[in-house]
Symmetry: C2
Subunit: 434 residues, 2 copies
């Protein structure tokens, strides 16, 4: 009997999402041109990793359990059994947040998740109850949050960044506009430090203004900040550390600071939730309920590896990443220096090319005088041997057609030098043709 | 400033699900009566686990990669970086399915997931596209599938098992009825072997009939079978191994066979999907797209531990679990033997008590002549020192009020003997009072 065939149009719309197709396209281009230098992947540089570190990290966590008085049976339970849905290393994460981020929250307000991605899904699901609710995002926007929203059929409203970053006035207009439309804005998602994809950082005054705005309009802020501790210098305070009235849900990731394969992230959700009978829980408790239906709990192996790394540095992720932060900072500086050498100020003014100059993170953005689409990307890979990401992928409501994201985290200095030279030739060629 | 408070009624309905509250209640009872013997948790016995096995399992996987020609850099990438969304141990799982289950599928049709729970979420999300789609489940039903459906606002239709198990005629009636209501039944979820919660096993003829029925009505079957390889004797063939036309999506879990803390499960989804332009993918490809928005990829540490265990037994989970299967089989037999001794045939006929006699798995069900609700559970824990699960938790559309689930997997022989004696006293007392 002939096998039946499912029609893709009969599946949920999230599998037909254009962003997934474009990401697939990017992967295909990368695969098709293996000799091209790629400024596309936003992954950490893996030259720092040592094959043995997983063993020492897990061992260190087990030793810690023993020091805490755990029996052999306790350790078997901790490592092998189903674990607490909200996570088994919450105290260690809470300690780290106090040591490094001036975020002082009880362990009970933390939910350990399978990367920050699962945390996004949980927060979206908890806060958006029905079709009249809307979730606001800074745009251009990390695809993980808009993807998770699509999966849950959640309405997203983009608040577009200006070239110098996000503006509170724009957010306020969006909130008022959504209310006008009869909808309830629930929360605003933003990456305040060295944003993915644009590379912008929110200044201190805007952070304060944003908190004030959130209070005034009674919305939550979802702060996602995976690049703070892999950037050189001292970062500005997190929104959460400035948060005096539990307006901020803070999402954390250990993918850049420890390693992605552990798949460990977390949400800090210390908001109080009251039910009709007056019983109070924390938002973290509600997120854990949802998590029980998504992944049950986070792998104890991943949690052990992360805990082992945190314990080794007394919770100071900043110290753990001194070398990595310097490396990434140098990569970014080298990219900017090479761009300036290849396309000096006069020349880029003629062409209509400009870029921002982030002081940290993995990304910078380049404005170009031509359409930076998949066709341009293919020409870039094929004729110039250089790959990048079209920024249009990151605009939930369209836009960014003349902007390119360069990711600098995964390349060696030599690759950066050669890659930028190739990129400049590509930009010259496209500009001439347009 | 006073912190704002979220109203629970403003959060998504999935956090207010009564099943979660009852599960919490069960946890509280367990916590409140620590000396009670608990027939509640469906978790594997952990006396088999050895603290060092995670290290040897991961090491074995790394050695395997080296044998396959992996460089030090390849290993760093495999263990530390973001991995392939669909998983890095698909070949090893495919080999295991061939060795143990007579399921012969290409590795590309497998998606490795964070436990079978994530696989359920992915399958539900992919198959249910809109409000007119409906997902059918055998009832009483594992709470993981109904919970994930609730999270996604997916309509579920329960097909209630009879006392001797599931009937195809009942499923067919439900399909026709849903069509009558203008809805599109997409798939039917069932645990054919030693079901959680009822302990029933689908006979061979019903398996064949179910496949025929699925073909006739053009629906998929979602087969979830975590208890096959932790049961004594030879199981019946999986639905997937009997599936000649790719009607079955098979969900796998290593939580019972290897260990829960790894959080590794998988879906076999070899169904072909065709888009409007005629391009064909596998359902597994579509599930992976959704997974990229849920957890990005499954922890490489968990995958490595599972792969190491599979490699050590040449993929034969059956051999890996010979001792565990015998242990669980003995626990079940001891429970049945003790029940029969405490409540002999004549006595239980007088009381109106009866139970089924599963040959494997973790669960059996006891019909009682009184309401087996949370109040009865509290009395049972407090006055008789024995805990169990009300079957009513597992009926998506209500029911099961006079049925109790006993889980036998987590107890020692002594606990079983004492626990059943206490349980019998509780049953006698409640029956007398009712």
């Amino acid at each position: 009997m002939e096998s039946p065939v499912l029609r893709k149009s009969d599946l949920h719309a999230s599998v037909s999402d254009p962003v997934l197709d474009t990401m697939n396209f990017l992967n295909e281009v990368t695969h098709r041109y293996p000799d091209a230098i790629s400024f596309a992947p936003g992954r950490p540089y893996d030259g720092f990793f040592d094959s043995e570190q997983i063993f020492t990290q897990i061992r260190r966590y087990l030793d810690h359990l023993v020091e805490q008085g755990a029996s052999a049976q306790d350790i078997r339970t901790a490592m092998y059994q189903y674990g607490p849905t909200a996570g088994q290393i919450r105290e260690i994460i809470a300690d780290s947040l106090r040591a490094d981020e001036d975020i002082d929250v009880p362990a009970e307000s933390i939910v350990v998740t399978v990367g920050a991605q699962e945390a996004m899904l949980l927060v979206l699901r908890a806060l958006v109850a029905g079709p009249d609710d809307v979730f606001l995002v800074a745009s251009p926007c990390y695809v993980g949050i808009t993807g998770a929203a699509r999966l849950l059929d959640i309405r997203v409203r983009a608040v577009e960044e200006r070239e110098d970053g996000f503006s509170c006035a724009d957010l306020e207009r969006a909130i008022l506009d959504e209310r006008e439309l009869g909808r309830r804005p629930r929360a605003f998602y933003v990456v305040p430090d060295h944003s993915n994809p644009s590379g912008t950082t929110m200044d201190r005054q805007t952070r304060a203004d944003l908190l004030e705005l959130a209070a005034r309009h009674d919305i939550l802020i979802v702060e996602d900040s995976p690049y703070r501790r892999v950037s050189p210098g001292s970062p500005l305070p997190t929104l959460k550390s400035l948060d005096r009235e539990r307006r901020v849900v803070h999402l954390g990731s250990f993918s850049k600071t420890i390693f992605p394969g552990a798949r460990v992230g977390f949400a800090v959700a210390d908001q109080r939730v009251v039910d009709d009978s007056g019983r109070t829980t924390l938002l973290a408790d509600e997120l854990a309920k949802i998590k029980s239906m998504v992944t049950v709990n986070t792998s104890s192996l991943g949690q052990a590896a992360v805990a082992g790394a945190l314990l080794a540095s007394r919770g100071r992720i900043s110290e753990l990443n001194t070398r990595a932060a310097a490396y990434y900072g140098d990569a970014l500086k080298a990219t900017l220096r090479n761009l300036d050498a290849q396309l000096p100020a006069g020349r880029r003014a003629e062409l209509g090319v400009r870029w921002n100059e982030p002081t940290g993170g993995f990304f910078l953005t380049v404005h170009v005088p031509f359409r930076a689409d998949n066709a341009a990307l293919t020409r870039s890979a094929q004729e110039f041997g250089v790959i990048w990401t079209p920024m249009s992928y990151f605009y939930p409501e369209g836009g960014g057609h003349n902007v390119i994201r360069l990711s600098t985290s995964y390349l060696t200095p030599t690759e950066i030098e050669q890659g930028v030279a190739r990129f400049a030739r590509f930009v010259e060629s496209e500009s001439a043709a347009s």
